[in-house]
């Protein structure tokens, strides 16, 4: 199909007026301490760092930099709470606290959504409709397990592990905190959580929720900082279990740090998922799935569908449709309710993405970017697609973690499977076809923790999530997620 001749116009005419989400109802303190033993405290070193709104480059707040001494205190508080009230509490009582967190999150959903978008740059539509509701859903789901662990593992006795050290990334700040906290608490563990340095605010607000929910002091401790703080948390000898979500490089360091210590660990790392489109797929819906797969949350998604594999007969048509669809994506102010793609999370990440854009062009791929305007200040990257790429290109092999899609073709189902699996990662995958048999073939053969059929980026607390190969170790979510926080005795 030749879109050059009969092109549609999406500029001009009736425009959407700005529809900014109000921020009046939100208070962000000038400065946040560390949440240790049930209260906010100054960091031992007295140092603070800025957290910035990536859409405006303005400082939102200052956050305490936790040192080893602070982590010591946090782990000690967590240990005391574990030995004291938390592990001895009746499971049904423990469940009530977790339910309470879920309900308070729901009540304060709007506030959390606004802060998530201010601090992280994601569109308010996503933080409102995805991040916050899913975070609450995780607490609700695991709260229900608290007094049913014996039924989850019939014939065995499930016991908590102790203190969990948890380090989470900046792409889904509150949601990742929920993924980590909810199963840990429901199983009777106590927690030291370190949020990412660029997005600490919703975790600190969650500390307020934990306090308001009346959890015993020390059950949840939140220490803010950068890589050194995270390293202090995971390598602390008082930590019994390590849970990490983030880059594969850091995941490797953590594996080394916990090797031989007897600590249990789960690592949820990078991905380079293949989204496989067969010629018989419902093409307009597939285009939506591709857009949702790679441009959701600016592509800052470990399970993003960053490699598109299209059956060769429909490649031209699909790419033409995709390019046309990019023209209607709205990039800009994350607080505007009509924004589809918000700001890149940090200057550092923008630099990384831009270096990959340059690399792609240097590798000889053809780059296409949406023509949408971007604001003058802040960190922005237009939705980008690369065509004419090969398996040997680095933009096909490496995780970019941005709104960048590499498009390849395949001829047979076997070639599609081979290409999909030809990656060091294995977190997720997608298949689009009108034929059920092909869906079964693909889901059996694609080595990835989750394979979506005729949809993408769907999450639910009842469903396990995790990777093969360099995408990680262990599973989070669902019944599988419980096991990571329990020791099972027969």
């Amino acid at each position: 199909m030749d879109t050059q001749v009969n092109k549609l116009a999406f500029d001009g005419g009736w425009q959407y007026a700005p529809a900014p989400e109000s921020t009046d109802h939100v208070t962000v303190d000038e400065r946040y301490g560390l949440f240790i033993d049930g209260e906010f405290a100054e960091p031992a070193g007295g140092k603070y760092f800025d957290t910035v709104n990536p859409a405006t480059e303005e400082r939102l707040s200052q956050v305490a930099l936790a040192t080893e001494a602070d982590v010591d205190r946090a782990v000690a508080a967590a240990r005391k709470a574990y030995e004291g009230p938390w592990s001895k509490m009746k499971p049904a009582e423990r469940g009530k606290y977790v339910y309470r967190i879920a309900r308070i999150l729901q009540e304060r959903a709007r506030e959390f959504a606004v802060i998530e978008s201010l601090d992280g740059g994601k569109p308010i539509r996503e933080s409102r409709d995805v991040d916050i509701p899913l975070a609450a859903a995780h607490f609700f789901y695991y709260a229900g397990w608290a007094d049913k662990l014996d039924y989850a593992y019939p014939g065995r006795r499930a016991r908590p592990l102790g203190v969990a050290g948890q380090v989470i990334p900046w792409n889904f700040p509150l949601l990742m905190a929920a993924w980590k906290l909810a199963p840990a608490l429901a199983c009777g563990n106590t927690v030291v959580l370190k949020p990412a340095e660029t997005t600490p605010l919703t975790a600190l607000k969650l500390a307020e929720v934990v306090r308001d929910a009346g959890l015993p002091p020390g059950v949840v401790n939140i220490v803010t900082g950068a890589g050194d703080t995270g390293s202090a948390v995971v390598s602390h000898p008082g930590v019994d279990k390590v849970a990490f979500t983030g880059s594969t490089a850091v995941g490797r360091m953590i594996m080394k740090a916990v090797a031989g210590t007897g600590k249990k660990y789960t690592l949820e790392l990078g991905g380079k998922a293949a989204n496989v489109i067969f010629a018989d797929a419902a093409i307009d819906q597939a285009v939506e799935g591709i857009v949702n797969g790679i441009f959701f949350n600016q592509g800052h998604v470990c399970c993003a569908g960053s490699r598109l594999l299209v059956q060769e007969g429909v490649e031209r048509e699909l790419v033409a449709r995709l390019k046309r669809r990019l023209a209607t994506l709205r990039v800009g102010d994350p607080m505007d309710k009509n924004t589809d793609i918000g700001a890149i999370n940090s200057q550092e990440q923008l630099g990384r993405i831009e270096s990959y854009l340059k690399l792609g062009v240097d590798e000889g791929a053809e780059m296409f970017q949406a023509s949408c305007p971007t604001p003058d200040r802040g960190y922005w990257c237009r939705p980008t697609i690369f065509t004419g790429v090969a398996q040997s290109n680095r933009i096909v092999q490496e995780e970019i973690f941005g709104p960048v899609l590499a498009i390849q073709t395949f001829r047979t189902l076997e070639e599609g499977i081979a290409k999909a699996n030809n990656t060091p990662y294995g977190l997720s995958g997608g298949v689009w076809t009108d034929k059920g048999a092909k869906i079964f073939r693909m889901t059996q053969k694609v080595r990835a923790g989750v394979v979506w059929a005729n949809t993408f980026n769907k999450f639910d607390p009842t469903s396990p999530f995790g990777g093969y190969k360099e995408s990680g170790v262990g599973r989070e979510g669902g019944l599988h997620g419980l096991g990571a926080y329990l020791s099972l005795e027969s």
Partner: protein
């Protein structure tokens, strides 16, 4: 727009090449349109656009010349106490009322649309349908809203449906032809897409969802599938086809969501009454009420808006 198509009987397109439609995916896309937030100036502009796109409709067995004249008055004078309002695009009536409507509208640039072809069931021989169409055209109808033979379509007799549309198109002469698919009887979105392609190739100037006599009438998922079919037909042939969702769109918010869907699917060229219509009877007053609210900040009671 390129030269008008002259469809010939027997030129059925290859419907096996029509793309599959995934219902869940369509519903998700529609849900995204419905999250668009349309406020302030953009809302006022949209509301006026909606008014200008309405085919004000009365299709009752009990219609009388008096009622049709009242409807025409309303079409011209939507709400005279509010200056700067457009008129509606057309009034839509049965063939026997076309002459009455034509006289009542006089020199005003409001089209008269007439349903024809044994509306709403379409269960009549082709000859009767052609006579019905010609009678409406002879009485002065500017637009003909025909119904397809759903029975034949569902039986897979696409050739019959194609030829029938092509024949009616010929009988229309200069009148525009809107082809009603009656999507509430087509049961799947795949059928909706296939019927849209068939109708456009057979000479439809507009494709229309529903008669309003069958539930469900227009829905956003059905309309999206039809808009996507229009888009692809335009890509292939360069011809623009109009779209008319009809029935079930009775409030402003929903109508604005349709505009959002139109804008993001077909772009700005279709954002005029020439290419998009709402078939509705009670929508106009709700839009007027919202416009009044935008202007004054308060809602007026329904009694302040004429009921014709």
């Amino acid at each position: 727009m390129s030269a008008a198509l002259r469809p010939q009987r027997g030129q059925l397109p290859d419907l096996s090449r029509v793309t599959a439609v995934d219902e869940t995916g369509v519903e998700e896309r529609v849900a995204r349109f419905r999250t668009r937030s349309i406020k302030t100036s953009s809302k006022v502009e949209a509301l006026k656009l909606v008014l200008s796109m309405i085919d004000l409709t009365t299709l009752e067995g009990q219609d009388t010349p008096g009622k049709v004249r009242q409807l025409c008055q309303k079409a011209i004078h939507l709400h005279d106490s509010m200056p700067g309002l457009p008129t509606v695009a057309a009034v839509c009536v049965y063939p026997t009322m076309v002459a009455v409507a034509k006289r009542a509208l006089g020199e005003h640039r409001i089209a008269v649309a007439s349903v024809a072809t044994a509306f709403p069931s379409g269960m009549a021989p082709l000859k009767v349908k052609l006579d019905d169409t010609k009678a409406a055209v002879d009485a002065g109808a500017d637009e003909i809203d025909m119904v397809i033979s759903r029975g034949a379509f569902l039986q897979g007799d696409y050739g019959y449906v194609f030829d029938e549309i092509a024949a009616i198109k010929e009988a229309c002469g200069d009148a525009h032809l809107k082809v009603i698919l009656e999507t509430g009887e087509l049961s799947t979105l795949d059928n909706v897409r296939r019927a849209s392609v068939l109708a456009m190739h057979a000479g439809a100037d507009f494709i229309k969802t529903s008669t309003g006599k069958i539930q469900p009438a227009a829905t956003m998922p059905v309309t999206l599938v039809m808009l996507q079919a229009i888009r692809d037909f335009h890509t292939e042939t360069g011809r623009m086809i109009g779209m008319k969702p009809a029935g079930g769109i009775s409030n402003s918010k929903l109508a604005i969501h349709y505009l959002v869907m139109l804008r993001e699917t077909l772009g700005t060229a279709w954002m005029t009454p020439e290419w998009f219509r709402f078939g509705a009877s009670s929508l106009a007053n709700d839009v007027l009420m919202q416009l009044q609210k935008q202007a004054t900040g308060v809602y007026q009671s329904a009694d302040y808006f004429s009921l014709d």
